[in-house]
C-alpha cells in the first residue's frame, strides 16, 4: 500500500517535471522575440543588422533620441495623439459594447434576432475592407484635415464597436434575471439597473472590453494610414514606427524603433496591471442564492 502510494507520488513528480520543462522551453521561445526587442532598444551599436545576439555595449540614447530628435519623426507628438485617440475611443466603444450587450441580453424586442444575425454576418468581413469608402465619407464630412483627423479616427475605431457584443452579452446572460426583476420591483429604471446592478457584477467583462477597445486604436495601422495621409502632425505611433523602418531611416532609427516598441507596450501593460485584479471572478461574492 505504502509502496503504491510512493510510486504514484513519484509518477506525478516525473510528470510535473516533464510538463514544467516543456513549459519552460515554450516560454523561452515565446519570450525570446520580446527579450530581443528590449535588448535591441538598449543597443549602442548602430544599424539594423548585428552579428551577435547580445549587444556589445548598452546605452539609453535610443530612448533619448525618440524624445529629442523630433524634427523628422516626432515621437512624443505621435505618442500623445495615439494616447488621446485610444482613450477616447476606448471609453466610447466600451460604452457601446456594454450598452448593446445589455440590451440584447435583457430587453426582448422584435429586431433582436435579426440584429444579432446581421451583426454576425457583418462581423465576418474584415473592417478595412471598407476603408476607402470610410475615407471618402469622412472627407465629405470635412473630417480629414487638421485636428479633426483625431475625431475621424475616434469615430472609426468606436463606431463599429456595437457589433462586437457577443462575449459581453454571453456574460450578461449568466447574471440571473431575478436580480433585475427585484430591482424593477424596487423602482429602478432600466438605466439604473444597468449601471447600479449589472455593471458592478460584470467587472471581468468590463475589464476585458476596456482592454480590447484600448488596444485596437492603440495598435491600428491601416485606418490611421489611410486617414492621416500627409498630415504628419496627426500621425499615430503605428505610422511613426513603420516610417522608422523605411530605407532612408532604418539605419539610424532601427534601435530607436525597438525603443519605441518597448515604450508603446507600457500603457497597455499599465492598464492591464491596474485592471488585472478585477479579472478574478467578479460575480461569486455578490450573488447569494
Amino acid at each position: 500500500m505504502a509502496k503504491q502510494f510512493q510510486s504514484a507520488k513519484k509518477n506525478r513528480m516525473i510528470n510535473n517535471t516533464i510538463v514544467h520543462i516543456v513549459l519552460a522551453i515554450l516560454a523561452v521561445i515565446w519570450l525570446f522575440p520580446i527579450f530581443w526587442v528590449v535588448l535591441t532598444s538598449f543597443r549602442a551599436e548602430k544599424g539594423s543588422y548585428v552579428s551577435t545576439f547580445l549587444p556589445k555595449a548598452f546605452t539609453l540614447d535610443n530612448y533619448a533620441k525618440l524624445f529629442s530628435d523630433t524634427t523628422i519623426l516626432n515621437f512624443p507628438q505621435m505618442f500623445m495623439n495615439t494616447l488621446f485617440i485610444a482613450i477616447c475611443s476606448c471609453i466610447l466603444s466600451a460604452f457601446y459594447v456594454l450598452a448593446v450587450s445589455y440590451c440584447l441580453s435583457r430587453i426582448k424586442f422584435k429586431l433582436r434576432k435579426p440584429y444579432m444575425n446581421m451583426a454576425m454576418v457583418l462581423g465576418l468581413f474584415p473592417g478595412f475592407m471598407s476603408m476607402i469608402a470610410v475615407y471618402f465619407i469622412l472627407k465629405a464630412m470635412g473630417l480629414t484635415e487638421g485636428n479633426l483627423i483625431k475625431l475621424a479616427l475616434i469615430l472609426c475605431y468606436s463606431g463599429g464597436a456595437g457589433l462586437g457584443f457577443q462575449i459581453a452579452k454571453g456574460f450578461f446572460d449568466t447574471i440571473p434575471a431575478a436580480i433585475d426583476e427585484a430591482a424593477l420591483l424596487d423602482g429602478c429604471t432600466r438605466w439604473q439597473i444597468f449601471y447600479k446592478i449589472t455593471l458592478p457584477l460584470s467587472k471581468p467583462i468590463i475589464v476585458y472590453t476596456v482592454l480590447t477597445s484600448f488596444m485596437g486604436p492603440w495598435l491600428d495601422f491601416i485606418f490611421a494610414r489611410v486617414i492621416c495621409r500627409a498630415n504628419s502632425d496627426q500621425y499615430t505611433i503605428a505610422i511613426g514606427l513603420w516610417k522608422m523602418l523605411e530605407k532612408e531611416y532604418i539605419d539610424s532609427w532601427y534601435t530607436s524603433f525597438a525603443a519605441g516598441a518597448v515604450l508603446i507596450s507600457i500603457p497597455i501593460a499599465l492598464l492591464f496591471l491596474f485592471m488585472q485584479k478585477y479579472y478574478v471572478d467578479g460575480i461569486s461574492g455578490a450573488v447569494k442564492g
Partner: protein, 412 residues
Amino acid sequence: MGRSLKRFLAGIMALTLGAGLTGCGNSKSAAGAEKVRLMVWSPSEDQSKESGEWLQTMCKKFASEHPEWDITFVYGVADEATATDQVSQDPDASADVFMYANDHLTNLIDAKAIVKFGGKYKEEIESTNSKELLNSLTVNNEIYGVPFTTNTWYMFYDKSVFSDDDVKNLDTMLKKGTVSFPLVNSWYLPAFYLGNGCTLFGNENDESKGVDFGGDKAVDVTNYIIDLASNPNFKIDADGSALAGLRDGSVSAMFTGSWDANAIKEALGDKMGVTSLPTFNINGGQKQMLAYAGSKAIGVNAHSEHMEQAVALAVYLGSEEAQKSHYELRNVIPCNTELLKEPEVAADALVEAQNDTFNNTSVLQPFVAAMSNCWTPVENMGKGIRNKSVTHDNAKEQTEAMNAAMNSNGLN
C-alpha cells in the same frame, strides 16, 4: 461615475471643436494681390529645422519673387513613394505640388492626377536636363514633372582594399576583398541579367515587347550568380548586413544609393570610395552591370485650383537655385546640367558616381503597368540561389520559369 464621464465627454467635444475652429483663422490679403492657397508635399527632411527647412525657404523665396500673388502655403509630409499612392488615391484632397518617384508615373497618369508641362516651362525643363533624365518622365512625348534628382544605386568601397583599377571589374574585386551584394532584392539582382543582354519591355517602356529574361544569355547569368553566391569572398546583403559589415571591417564593398552615403562615410571616413557599377566576367567576356535607374520629380496635381501658380512653383522648386540649396542642405544629388558643371558640385565623388551610373551603367527602370509582375519572380530567383535550391543542374529550367512568370500577370 456617470457625471464625471459626461463631463469628460463634453470636454473632449469642446477640445475637438475648439481645435477645429482655430484652424479657420484667415489672413487678410494685400490689396490687389490674388489670393492663392497652395498645398505642397515633400519628405519630412525637406521641412525639418535640422536640415535647414529647404521647402519653407524655397517657397518663401518663390512668394517674394511673385508679389502679384498672395500665397498661403500649406505643407504636408509625403515622401516620393508615398505621394504617388496618396495622390492617385484621392487627387482632390491632395497637394497642388508634390514630389514623386517616376516608377509609378503611369498610375498618376491613369488616375488623371498629374498635369503635363508645356510651353515655356517645357522648354526650360528640356534645356536644363539630360535626355536620359527627360525620358524617365516622358510618356507619349509629354513631360510630366520637373526632375530634381536621380534615383539609382551604385558601388561604395573601401579604398584601402581596392585600387581604382580593381573596382572596374567585380571578379577582380572578389580576388582582393569581400564584396556584398543584395542578391535577394529584385531592385538589384536584374543588374546582371540586363548586363548580359536581357531586356525588359525592349528597355524602352514598350509593354508589347514583353520581358526577355530567357534563353542562353539568362541561363549563363544564373550560372554566374550561383558561382558568385558560393564564392567565399562574396556575402549576400540582406537586412542591412553589408552596412554592418563595412562598420566592422568584414565587408569591403557594397551596393546601395545616396540614402546610405552618410552612414558609410561615418564607417569608412576618408577611405570611402564610390563609383559606378563594375563589369563582370561571363563566358570569357566582360559585361557591364546595369542598375535600374529612375528619377524623382516635382509634379503638379491636375485638380489644382491654382494651376498657374502651382506649375510656376514646381518649376521653381526644380530650378538650378533650388537644387543647389537642396544639395547644400540635404545632400540631394542635383541633376540640373548647368549645376553639375559647377566645380564644387563636379568635384563631389558621390555626385559623379550617381550621375555616371545614371548615364552609363543603368537602364531606365520601366514604368509600364506590366512591370509589377517582374519583381517577385526575380526575388524568388535570388532566394532560390541563396537557399541552393537553384543549382547548375536546374539553372536552365529555373531561369525559363522566372522568365515565364515575369511575362505573365498571373491570370492568363
